[in-house]
């Protein structure tokens, strides 16, 4: 009782080839940079883009042989695509009507859904009279009103401003928790994925590069893209015991392992010195400052050198060290603040 899919979509200069499994009640987020193929995957699941190969099975029955309108799916589009000529109520009632409900039954179902998303008083409003957050909720209600067994969300919060997004995200999370079918969510926002999904699937260039629970992905990024998303410095090297050789640099790590390995550490773990520090057994290397930018309350320093790294330090430290781009500087990371895992 779940979604199993092997999606292959071949285009002249692009090929999507991914395996997806989603259990009932589970929310899987497809995360990836622009052009990675996330939306293509979602459209293939919906039947809006044809498969070049592979299969889709939902609850044991093949889905890929059905036209879009025959699939038991609900889809929320990035800009909602509410029908501009219909009221909010009739937008939500559209699906039930298409599924054979009488006009009055469809409207009753729609009214119940609008109540669930808290928009009863906007039932008669046309889409252009709704705010972004309200339109998003109508779009969600419209997708859920047909009682789909697979819910597809394409960047559901991308069109909202930052303040509305928090509210709508919390509500969306509640509705997703109440939904007992499989959910596939497409997003490029790691925070959105981590908050809303039980399982992350990271796609780059049409292929899965990493998947796991949000915690696993956040702790053990496996590509530069994921490392950037979760805000970690990431290196790939060869481990021998408690040391990992990354190109010419030997990093001491906390874990004991052998063979190809990743080493990750947060920018905040990087300490900077004007002169070579003595004493403490740290990973130490000399770097050149590539750039300095504000990052939240701190300052992020981009370091070039034997390894490329980001360091987060306080504005006070920047002033004290008198840092300027192009400057040579010593960077250090404690072994206990790194995290090494097999590649």
């Amino acid at each position: 009782m779940s979604l199993h899919a092997h999606l292959v979509v071949a285009r002249p200069r692009f090929r999507l080839d991914i395996d997806l499994t989603v259990a009932p009640g589970q929310v899987v987020a497809l995360l990836g940079p622009n052009g990675a193929g996330k939306t293509t995957a979602l459209r293939a699941l919906a039947g809006l883009t044809g498969l070049s190969g592979g299969h889709i099975t939902l609850d044991g029955a093949p889905l890929h042989t059905l036209a879009a309108e025959r699939r038991p799916i609900g889809m929320v589009f990035q800009d909602y695509l509410l029908f501009p000529h219909l009221s909010a109520l009739d937008n939500v009632a559209f699906g039930p009507r298409c599924h054979g409900a009488s006009k009055s039954d469809a409207r009753r179902t729609a009214a119940a859904w609008l109540e669930r998303v808290g928009l009863t008083e906007h039932a008669r409003a046309r889409p252009r009279q709704l705010s972004g957050g309200q339109a998003q909720r109508v779009a969600l209600a419209r997708a859920l009103a047909i009682e789909p067994r697979l819910l597809l969300l394409d960047e559901p919060l991308a069109a909202l401003d930052a303040r509305t997004r928090l509210d709508v995200r919390a509500q969306l999370r509640r509705h997703l928790a109440a939904f007992d079918g499989a959910t596939v969510l497409v997003t490029h926002d790691p925070l959105e994925a981590m908050v809303l999904a039980d399982h992350l699937v990271v796609i780059e260039n049409g292929a899965i590069v990493q998947q796991g629970t949000p915690a696993q992905v956040a702790q053990r990024p496996r590509t530069d893209y994921v490392a950037r998303l979760v805000g970690l410095n990431l290196y790939r090297g060869i481990a021998t015991g408690r040391q990992v050789k990354i190109e010419d640099v030997l990093l001491s790590v906390a874990e004991h392992l052998d063979g190809p390995a990743f080493v990750a550490f947060p920018p905040a773990a990087v300490a900077l010195y004007r002169t070579r520090p003595d004493g403490t057994p740290r990973n130490l290397w000399q770097a050149r400052i590539e750039g300095i930018e504000r990052h939240g309350d701190n300052v992020r320093i981009h370091l070039e050198g034997p390894i490329t790294a980001s360091a987060d330090i306080t504005p006070a430290a920047v002033a004290e060290l008198d840092l300027t781009p192009g400057q040579r500087i010593w960077a250090a990371v404690k072994a206990t603040e790194t995290h090494a895992y097999p590649a």
Partner: protein, 282 residues
């Protein structure tokens, strides 16, 4: 210092009524003169109709049964022709806009031929196909005993033939401008292609359809060449207003003026009442 202040002051004063005011002194006569001439050229003939109209005898002339007959025939045939165009033209526009088939570009070009074809030639072509001895007409006559030329149905056909491209072009443009993704959204909600067309596509392009239908109706109402060639000029059966005007001009010019005035009034009233839709159409 002083020159700067003066120029700012003058500029400020000129800017007072807004940007139009600022430009008023520099209206290019090269453009205004032909524009006024063009306006006069379009409006003077209409004014001529009003001036030359036999106002004192107008009511009784309008009440003449032949006039009313021609007006009724014109309105009825133009309306039926528009309905025929809607029934056939909207699906045709949909096909041209939404379905990729081989030769679509050629078909699109051919569909608009009646736009540039002299209507008389259209009438001749209709005769050759639907006339008694025409390719299709022969068969219609033999199988169903139906003859189209020189009947009221023939008038409708001639008008529809000439007017349909206006509708097709207008609706196709609206269809191409409509957001296809709304149709996809409807598909994910379980709507069949027909339901999508009926409940999403058609409402979205409604302004384009209305605009096209108005153009189509106006063109059908004024149709002369194809009608007189294919349907002839029989009072009460095929004599529409334009035909009556032309005939009257040879025998009784004052009657022609009255008929023209009537046709003008009817067109203006109907177009004006639809103007809002027409202006807001894409």
């Amino acid at each position: 210092m002083t020159p700067t202040t003066t120029s700012t002051g003058r500029g400020g004063a000129r800017r007072g009524p807004g940007p139009v005011g600022a430009l008023a002194g520099r209206t290019p006569w090269v453009l205004v003169l032909p524009a006024v001439l063009g306006m006069a050229f379009l409006l003077l003939p209409l004014a001529g109709l009003l001036i030359k109209a036999p106002w004192p005898t107008l009511p009784e002339r309008l009440a003449e049964p032949q006039v009313l007959e021609a007006l009724r025939l014109s309105l009825v045939t133009a309306t039926i022709a528009t309905l025929v165009c809607l029934l056939l033209g909207v699906p045709l526009a949909w096909l041209l806009a939404r379905v990729a088939f081989p030769g679509r570009r050629a078909v699109r070009a051919l569909v608009t031929v009646p736009l540039v074809l002299p209507p008389v030639v259209g009438g001749v072509a209709l005769l050759l196909v639907l006339g008694r001895r025409g390719l299709v007409g022969q068969w219609l006559d033999a199988t169903f005993g139906v003859t189209l030329p020189f009947t009221t149905a023939g008038v409708v056909l001639a008008e529809a033939f000439v007017a349909m491209p206006f509708l097709v072009i207008s609706v196709e443009g609206a269809l191409r401008a409509a957001d296809l993704r709304l149709e996809e959204a409807a598909a994910t909600l379980g709507a069949s292609r027909w339901t999508i067309f009926r409940r999403v596509t058609l409402p979205l392009v409604a302004p384009g359809v209305v605009a096209g239908a108005v153009l189509c109706w106006a063109r059908a109402l004024g149709e002369f060449g194809a009608t007189i060639t294919f349907a002839g000029n029989f009072p009460g059966r095929t004599q529409t207003m334009p035909l009556a005007v032309y005939l009257a001009l040879e025998t009784e010019p004052e009657a022609a003026i009255v008929l023209s005035l009537l046709l003008l009034a009817v067109s203006v009233i109907i177009l004006a009442s639809l103007r809002d839709k027409w202006v807001t159409s894409p």
